[in-house]
């Protein structure tokens, strides 16, 4: 009962999916103790941030059927908000609050304006408009180097509680030192879970149901009395706000922000891939998609180095498995997964659980 309420009545509805989700949560919870080293913790943190980012994009693409390329812009606004505030005001919680608040406000206004002005046009044109706005914003961010640090970005200090220098106790716990990084990680994980559950509530609300109706048949939704422009705009705004929060989390975690870490078009493509691989319009797909993608992105090279050394005597195979070729293999993996699971991994698991193959 309590789970049903927490998950807004939208349970995984597939035993395999449930097990995978539990495994991911357990993996994230135990990362500091089970997988030693800074890299593992960074990967786990990135997974958390991208779960929020991809889930917020799914609200837009999967639930409302809006194609937008401006999602990284809102991600970037969140990251720059925190970065600029902490650089200017020093490493205090007030600065964090000011940065997040200002960023959310800017995203709110910007997404509402873009929405109201352009959600009346055809989907294709809307995608183009968002692309133009996002590109303009990216240029602006690198030009205003006075504020943003330009191409170099900004490196800053975070509040003491979250900084590596902070220590909860002298004694390590289960071999792990209880420092500010650990606190920052668990705080990040807790916020991720909370934001995900809030998004799950939104897509399962009466409002979320209208979004799906609009995705299915906007003309009919209008005839039923739903003003589609209003709903699409709200969907746009909510999605932007959650992306902004994800951006703020990213900056706090990295203690750095620059155009390549939060604004680049490559991230936009990654988000699209994660949504599609996980399964559009399921929200759980964002958890699976983000986790899978980021693990592959970070460890495929290592795996290939290992494999390449193993076949170092075989001339062609050795070159094919060379770590420098990892993007080729990443591409092949994604083509295969989209081909095998057109409804995404979650879509596939759920239809299997329902008894269709």
């Amino acid at each position: 009962m309590i789970f049903n309420r927490l998950f807004s009545g939208d349970l995984p509805r597939s035993r395999v999916l449930l097990m995978v989700l539990v495994a991911i949560l357990a993996g994230l919870l135990l990362t500091p103790f089970v997988f030693p080293g800074a890299k593992a913790l960074n990967v786990a943190a990135k997974i958390c941030i991208f779960i929020v980012l991809v889930a917020s994009f799914d609200l837009l693409l999967g639930y409302t059927g809006i194609v937008s390329f401006a999602h990284t812009m809102f991600f970037g606004i969140g990251a720059y908000g925190v970065a600029i505030a902490l650089t200017r005001l020093g490493p205090t919680w007030t600065a964090v609050a000011v940065g997040v608040g200002a960023a959310v406000l800017l995203s709110l206004v910007l997404s509402m304006v873009i929405g109201l002005f352009s959600l009346r046009v055809k989907a294709m044109f809307y995608a183009m408009i968002t692309l133009a706005v996002a590109t303009a914003f990216q240029t602006l961010a690198s030009q205003l180097s006075e504020f943003t640090g330009g191409e170099d970005g900004l490196t800053f200090k975070v509040p003491e509680l979250l900084s590596p220098a902070f220590s909860l106790s002298e004694q390590p716990f289960l071999g792990v030192s209880l420092d500010g990084r650990l606190i920052a990680f668990y705080l990040l994980l807790a916020i991720t879970v909370a934001l995900f559950l809030i998004l799950l509530r939104i897509v399962n609300s009466p409002f979320g149901r209208v979004l799906q109706a609009i995705r299915e048949n906007a003309f009919r939704a209008e005839a039923l009395g739903y003003q589609t422009v209003v709903y699409r705009t709200w969907s746009n705004v909510l999605s932007a706000v959650f992306a902004t929060l994800a951006g703020a989390l990213l900056a706090l975690w990295l203690r750095y922000n620059g155009p390549d870490t939060s604004l680049s078009f490559e991230i936009m493509i990654d988000i699209l891939l994660m949504v599609v691989i996980g399964g559009m319009g399921t929200l759980y797909g964002s958890v699976i998609g983000a986790t899978l993608f980021i693990i592959v992105q970070n460890y495929l090279q290592d795996l290939m180095r290992f494999a390449s050394e193993g076949v170092s005597k075989v001339p062609f195979l050795r070159d094919l498995l060379h770590p420098d070729r990892w993007l080729l293999w990443l591409g092949i993996l994604f083509v295969l997964s989209v081909y095998r699971f057109p409804t995404g991994i979650v879509g596939k698991l759920r239809s299997k659980a329902r008894g269709y193959s």
Partner: protein, 252 residues
């Protein structure tokens, strides 16, 4: 007496073609008016102008005497004009129940509620189930709308309109393409609706026996213009209908 619905010189032009030409007509509250005419006469376009899917080039639409010409389709829906479409127009990947529930939810004005869980609004689901029962689709409530056979999709289309509970019901060939044994379900619904005498019904229908039985009044559209109106018996007997409409039907 104020008409429940009235059009004054309602006109729409597509380029040089006048699809609906200065149609002035009032619909008395509690009556059922059948709109007949050959294919391409402008019946569906006339409907689209009334329910707001198309904006008129000239003329006005009045609801209870109030000018709603400037209102959008959703606004007209909220003001009490409900519409079922000729070409089935559903939410294909949503369940049958959800198709109806969305109409109930719109009527309840809950669309912008984003903090409650949809399934906690049990009264909406209960009402949707009532409507499903009325259109004989209870057994198929969990199927995707797209998975229904054509006749059931037509029933669902009518069910969505019923769930909206508007003041003005607009049926656009509700029984088109239905098998003979499915037609009575829909006709019984319309009969029951008419018997209540508190709703105004507009019905586009080709089957003359249905029109003769159900209609209080008939209007005839031909090439976008209103060419005849009156009591069913007298309109059906008039030369213009015999020639313009029934002539074609007979020729088939």
């Amino acid at each position: 007496m104020t008409f429940a619905l009235e059009t004054q010189d309602l006109t729409i032009r597509f380029g040089g073609h006048v699809a609906v030409n200065a149609v002035s007509c009032g619909f008395a509250p509690g009556t059922l008016t059948a709109i007949v005419g050959p294919n391409g006469a402008g019946k569906t376009t006339y409907f689209n102008l009334i329910s707001g899917q198309l904006k008129a080039s000239a003329g006005r639409v009045l609801l209870q005497g109030a000018d709603i010409s400037a209102c959008s389709a959703p606004q007209r829906s909220h003001r009490g004009i409900g519409r079922a479409f000729q070409l089935t127009n559903l939410f294909p990947n949503l369940s049958v129940l959800e198709n109806i529930r969305l109409a109930v939810q719109s009527r309840a004005g809950l669309g912008l509620n984003l903090w409650s869980v949809w399934s906690s609004h049990r009264e909406l689901i209960a009402r949707a189930e009532e409507v499903l029962e009325a259109v004989a689709l209870t057994a198929k409530r969990d199927l995707a709308a797209a998975a229904l056979p054509h006749g059931d999709q037509r029933k669902l289309e009518v069910g969505i309109l019923m769930a909206l509970e508007p003041d003005v019901f607009m049926f656009d060939e509700p029984t088109a393409g239905m098998s003979v044994d499915e037609v009575p379900v829909i006709l019984d619904l319309i009969r029951a609706l008419k018997a209540r005498r508190d709703k105004t019904i507009l019905l586009v229908e080709h089957k003359m026996d249905v029109v003769r039985e159900l209609a209080d009044r008939i209007i005839v559209l031909h090439n976008g213009a209103l060419v005849a109106e009156g009591e069913p018996a007298e309109v059906i007997a008039s030369p213009i209908v015999q020639e313009a409409y029934l002539g074609i039907e007979v020729a088939k």
